[in-house]
């Protein structure tokens, strides 16, 4: 992997959170800053989860090795954002009113699903180290299939919380479906081969043109 890629992505992933802290402290989040904070961190969690799912298709399609090495970092950043998201809810939204929080989790389907997504993300974050990977062996791969379940729950969570306008969650749902399709054998075979042979023929053309 090119040396600069990983640090660059690391910094890029921090930008939204830095902006949010700055905006919060300087009154730039509008009339309802706590709602804005919840929404922004929720969306960034979902974006990062989907971005994580882009890495494998990207590697297969382009033949690059580096996307796979970003996967863990992107996943951990998704976890980072969901932690802020959840804390905002627990603290700034409910002020640790555990009775109310419990009722919310049991009775509000969108919260139930969000909470489930968070709970499933915790073991993924905990077992993301190399040592854990080695220790768990084949079970690690099995466990980390949850990386497909969590974004699906995230999309559902978003879908269920909007009042009428489902356009935004729909976009995320379609992206998720697309990313899953790219993992479907018939598609991978064609997509992967197609792109790679394009690259080869590109190179061929370029070398034909060059003197």
């Amino acid at each position: 992997m090119k040396l600069w890629i990983k640090p660059t992505v690391f910094v890029l992933c921090l930008v939204p959170s830095a902006w949010l802290v700055f905006a919060l402290l300087t009154d730039r989040l509008g009339a309802n800053p706590i709602e804005a904070l919840t929404r922004e961190t929720g969306e960034w969690t979902l974006r990062l989860l989907l971005l994580t799912l882009c890495m494998t298709p990207l590697r297969k399609a382009a033949g690059w090795g580096w996307p796979i090495r970003l996967r863990r970092m992107l996943g951990l950043f998704a976890f980072f954002y969901v932690c802020i998201h959840l804390s905002t809810y627990l603290w700034l939204d409910q002020f640790f009113d555990w009775g109310e929080i419990g009722r919310d989790i049991l009775k509000r389907p969108f919260i139930t699903v969000g909470m489930l997504a968070f709970v499933l993300l915790v073991p993924l974050a905990v077992t993301s180290t190399n040592a854990m990977m080695r220790r768990l062996g084949r079970n690690w791969t099995r466990l980390h299939r949850l990386a497909y379940v969590v974004p699906a729950l995230g999309v559902l969570h978003f879908w269920w919380l909007v009042k009428a306008d489902v356009r935004e969650p729909l976009v995320y749902a379609l992206l998720f479906v697309l990313l899953m399709l790219l993992r479907w054998k018939p598609v991978t075979l064609r997509f992967g081969r197609g792109l790679r042979s394009d690259r080869v023929s590109d190179r061929g053309q370029i070398s034909n043109l060059s003197p």
Binding site: L25, G30, A31, N32, E35, F95, E100, D104, A164
Partner: protein, 314 residues
């Protein structure tokens, strides 16, 4: 509001007047040239600004709670006709043409017809009413409206004995209302009140806020304000008022009947199917507060609903 400022540090009442004053001046300079004429019929905009500011009496039905800042009242709105984001209406509502404007009166009444806004407004004296507004989403504001009782308007058109409900409609024109180009709701927006709710002294036809004409994103040129019901009942930019016998089906009832009923009274005990209604965040406050029955207007309106199961009639 910066997070680090807490309610106990700075009372909203300490900071509101100054900023309100500034905002109000800015608003009048920028906005009244456009809206003053529409607000007060034939009056020139210069006259309008002094009249609306000085000639207003404050209704005793007003609350003396700290008012929500002008920038929030006009910058954080639900008005799906201009987009579903809270900042969308302020950004997109400039395409609305509020003058000329007319309102059609229909149905069970002696004087149906299409009236110009000037005709609608002429006989009424405006007053300032400072009301709490509670959104179904769990936030609230305190807004100094300008308007007149809906009851006074209704009486002029002499509804018949069959008029048991009043139905209202918002303008439907996707050219002017960009949000209507997408069927988020079934357009036009429709709302309704039972006749006794419509005739209640708290029910207001609003034409302004903060001492000047209604900004477009707040439902110019004329809107309803029913302070004991969730905000979406207070329909904006009204073009039609119909007296009917059957209970109207509102836009939100049509969209999700299991979540929105006809009455939609503020009620901390009846949760929205997807979230609790027991607390609310007053815009500008850090801590949430308890939501009050009928949004704190129970003394005045609870009697309208005696004997009704408010869980069923949500």
């Amino acid at each position: 509001m910066p997070l680090i400022r807490t309610t106990s540090d700075i009372q909203p009442s300490e900071i509101t007047p100054e900023s309100v004053y500034r905002e109000r001046r800015r608003f009048m300079q920028a906005g009244l040239a456009l809206s003053g004429a529409a607000l007060l019929g034939g009056m020139s905009s210069a006259q309008a600004s002094t009249v609306t500011l000085k000639g207003l009496t404050r209704s005793p039905l007003s609350t003396d709670e700290a008012q929500t800042e002008y920038k929030d009242v006009t910058g954080y709105n639900n008005f799906y006709e201009f987009g579903t984001g809270k900042e969308d209406p302020a950004a997109n509502a400039h395409t609305l043409r509020t003058s000329p404007w007319s309102v059609t009166i229909e149905g069970e009444c002696a004087k149906p017809g299409t009236y110009t806004l000037e005709d609608i407004l002429k006989p009424h004296a405006f007053e300032e009413r400072i009301y709490r507004l509670r959104c179904v989403e769990g936030w609230s504001m305190v807004i100094p409206w300008i308007g007149f009782p809906l009851a006074d308007l209704i009486k002029r058109f002499e509804p018949t004995g069959n008029a048991r409900f009043v139905e209202f409609e918002t303008l439907h024109d996707p050219e002017q209302m960009s949000g209507q180009r997408w069927p988020v709701l079934q357009w036009p927006y429709v709302e309704g009140l039972r006749m006794d709710e419509a005739m209640h002294p708290l029910t207001l036809m609003a034409v302004g806020l903060y001492g000047a004409a209604l900004p477009k994103q707040n439902g110019a040129p004329i809107r309803l304000v029913v302070p004991w019901k969730y905000g979406f009942k207070s329909i904006k930019s009204i073009v039609k008022i119909r007296f009917v016998e059957q209970q109207p089906v509102s836009a939100w009832m049509r969209a999700t009947p299991e979540e929105y009923g006809f009455y939609s009274n503020v009620n901390p005990e009846v949760a929205h199917p997807r979230w609790s209604q027991s607390t609310e965040r007053r815009i500008g406050d850090f801590l949430k507060r308890k939501t009050l029955m009928f949004n704190g207007y129970a003394d005045q309106v609870a009697s309208l609903y005696t004997g009704m199961d408010l869980r069923k009639n949500y």
